[in-house]
């Protein structure tokens, strides 16, 4: 940058040349010039119309840029290898270092410290040498199989002040489950008002003295169910066949109830939620023999209806006159279109909602008990196995076997009122009977008697409902007491191989029944053939191509006869068979 020169130019001017001071004087007005308008010129102009004019109305603003001072950053690492030496000792000077070290070694402090520390140090060194402290001891020993101790205890009792028998128990589906219990006398009695009181309770497991909520349906409540998603909604089925829906938050009175003209004609004996996208649909079964499907949001009319007729003469249509009264229903989310129905006449009907004709819907039935089937449940282990209870028996059935139950236990001395599978443990189920005894069976451990049994009440027990996580069981009896049972851990959680073993049991028993069934059929066939041999044979030999098949059949029948008559005929050489 060059140097800056100041450029100046100096000049002088005398004052008298600046000019004289202007002196103003008043002059009267006089025309200096007059220019007249020239109309010729005006013709050269036109009025400008329209005139475009831009106007901007803004506040006066100004722009100014500014920036903070830039901080220039730079990252750099430092490698600190050695330090701590006092200032006068240079690292690179070996002698300095040595001297410093020696100086420290001669200090009192140093000697004391080292002599003090060496004790503990030597102790730990020896300890390390002696034994490996940190190894996993007993890791190669085999774990002992746990001792299985079965314990059932009554944890709590919730009493009904009016001592009515419990008609239905259900656990709510929220995290801190509550028990909903409904009470009623399930008899058609001549005295009009044996059911004076319709109040039903919701109990909290921890509060024994009073229920946390009460709700009162319009008449006596036979069944209760709690919504799977909304824990405050309770649906109750009544003895007159209608449904009442309660919301606990709003109060003890029902928020809606179905119209008596569009509901069941008899008391509702079963009520369950079905699988639907909105989780608001449920279905009910009643002693009048029909199943109705409802949507909770609008119960003025049922969505669907099905009459449970399986045994009716061929010339009649299925309707309510030939249908069987329903005493229990079972629905599982795993099979969303099928359900099982236990009837008053002791049948269990397998129903498929996706069938097109009535016979496709009610596909098949089993003759289960000699009285109403009080309870039907599918096994959590395999859905093709289900358990039923009624009269004095509890039977386990397989869907594949039509003729007989696959597992039967000895009949009880008293009537069985309810049965339920243990929710998590695949091989167990629990039974309550009219003598007040709670029995817990484990099919894998003991086949002939219950693994645990407890006399809970002096009066008959009516219902059993295990909590879905299996730890608590709610049992209701005839005098309004709701017992809460706690089971020991080995009754709740399955063993390691339980599921496999249970499947094996199922397969084995099903196969046994199949074989027995086939054998029975053979015997019957043979018996029929003995009666009318001339008629049957020509029918069978119509197709000459199946001569060999006929031969085989013939020889098989002959062989059976021989085995029955125990070898009276000489056994020839049936190597062709």
């Amino acid at each position: 940058m060059g140097s800056y020169f100041k450029s100046t130019y100096e000049y002088t001017k005398s004052r008298k040349n600046f000019g004289k001071q202007p002196l103003f004087q008043n002059v009267s007005a006089h025309i200096l010039d007059s220019i007249n308008p020239d109309y010729e010129l005006q013709k050269q102009y036109i009025l400008r119309n329209p005139v475009h004019r831009e106007v901007q109305a803004t506040s006066p603003q100004m722009e100014h840029e500014s920036n903070t001072k830039q901080v220039i950053k730079h990252e750099q690492g430092i490698n600190h290898t050695e330090g701590g030496w006092p200032r006068d000792v240079h690292l690179y000077n070996e002698e300095h270092i040595l001297r410093h070290r020696r100086r420290i070694q001669h200090e009192e402090n140093y000697v004391h410290s080292v002599l003090n520390l060496r004790h503990s140090m030597e102790h730990f060194i020896d300890q390390n040498n002696a034994i490996d402290m940190y190894q996993a001891y007993y890791s190669d020993m085999e774990p002992q199989a746990p001792v299985e101790e079965y314990k059932v205890q009554i944890a709590n009792v919730f009493r009904d002040p009016f001592l009515r028998p419990i008609s239905s128990i259900v656990w709510t589906n929220d995290k801190k489950s509550k028990v909903i219990a409904s009470y009623c006398y399930k008899t058609y009695s001549i005295e009009p008002d044996i059911n004076q009181n319709n109040i039903c309770y919701v109990w909290d497991v921890n509060r024994q003295t009073t229920p946390i909520y009460e709700f009162s349906p319009n008449t006596t409540c036979w069944q209760v169910v709690s919504s799977p998603v909304e824990s405050d909604v309770i649906v109750a089925g009544l003895s007159i066949g209608t449904i009442n829906i309660f919301d606990i938050r709003s109060g003890p009175k029902p928020i809606t109830s179905s119209s008596i003209y569009h509901s069941h004609l008899g008391p509702i004996t079963a009520l369950l939620y079905t699988h639907s996208r909105t989780n608001t649909e449920f279905f009910t079964g009643s002693l009048d023999g029909q199943c109705l499907w409802w949507d909770r949001r609008n119960i003025s009319n049922p969505i669907d209806q099905l009459s449970m007729s399986v045994r009716y003469p061929a010339d009649e249509e299925p309707n309510l006159t030939n249908s069987e009264g329903i005493s229990s229903l079972q629905f599982d989310k795993g099979l969303p279109t099928k359900f099982l129905c236990g009837t008053e006449s002791g049948l269990v009907i397998n129903a498929n909602r996706m069938g097109r004709s009535h016979s496709e819907i009610l596909t098949s039935y089993w003759v289960a008990h000699t009285g109403p089937v009080r309870s039907v449940h599918r096994s959590p282990c395999t859905l093709r196995m289900f358990i039923t209870c009624g009269d004095w028996n509890v039977k386990v059935w397989s869907e594949e076997v039509r003729s007989a139950p696959i597992i039967v236990t000895k009949p009880y001395q008293h009537q069985i009122t309810d049965v339920s599978w243990a929710p998590l443990r695949y091989s167990c189920y629990m039974v309550v009977a009219a003598d007040g005894v709670f029995n817990y069976w484990d099919l894998l451990r003991k086949y002939k008697q219950p693994v645990a049994s407890l006399n809970i009440s002096d009066h008959g027990l009516t219902k059993v409902a295990p909590h879905p996580e299996g730890e608590s069981i709610a049992v209701g009896d005839n005098y309004g007491s709701l017992f809460l049972l706690h089971l020991s851990d080995n009754m709740i959680y399955p063993g390691v191989n339980d599921k496999q073993l249970m499947h094996q049991i199922y397969e084995r028993e099903t196969r046994r029944e199949h074989i027995l069934d086939a054998r029975l059929r053979e015997i019957r066939l043979k018996a029929r053939m003995e009666q009318e041999p001339s008629i049957i044979f020509p029918e069978e030999t119509t197709d000459t191509e199946n001569l060999e098949a006929e031969e085989e059949l013939y020889f098989k029948i002959v062989k059976e006869e021989i085995s029955i008559t125990d070898g009276v005929f000489p056994t020839a050489n049936f190597s062709a068979i």
Binding site: W85, R101, H106, V114, L117, F124, I125, N128, Y134
Partner: protein, 97 residues
């Protein structure tokens, strides 16, 4: 007395499994070591910091308590650290027995 110290250190070294002994002062300088300089300096710096931290931990949990011994066990060997007011005695011992 200085000879006693020497003797002590030799004794410790003679124990079964001991790889090395280092004595560090509070400034992080290895005063006496049976290992080479580079390793000693490494141990001195790192273990000094570890000991400080451990001491703080024990003190903060309970102000009347103090750290008496620290062991760092690794797969190959174990570092035994005995702290003192001014000095730290470090012994490295083999554990694979």
């Amino acid at each position: 007395m200085a000879t006693e110290v020497e003797e002590t250190i030799k004794r410790i070294q003679a124990h079964k499994g001991v790889i090395g002994v280092v004595i560090v002062n509070h400034e992080g300088i290895p005063i006496k070591s049976s290992l080479d300089n580079a390793t000693s300096v490494l141990y001195a710096g790192l273990i000094g910091q570890l000991t400080e931290k451990a001491k703080n931990v024990v003190r903060e949990m309970d102000s009347t308590n103090e750290l008496t011994f620290l062991r760092a066990r690794s797969r190959r060997h174990e570092i035994l650290i005995a702290p003192d007011r001014e000095f730290i005695l470090i012994v490295i011992q083999n554990t694979s027995d």
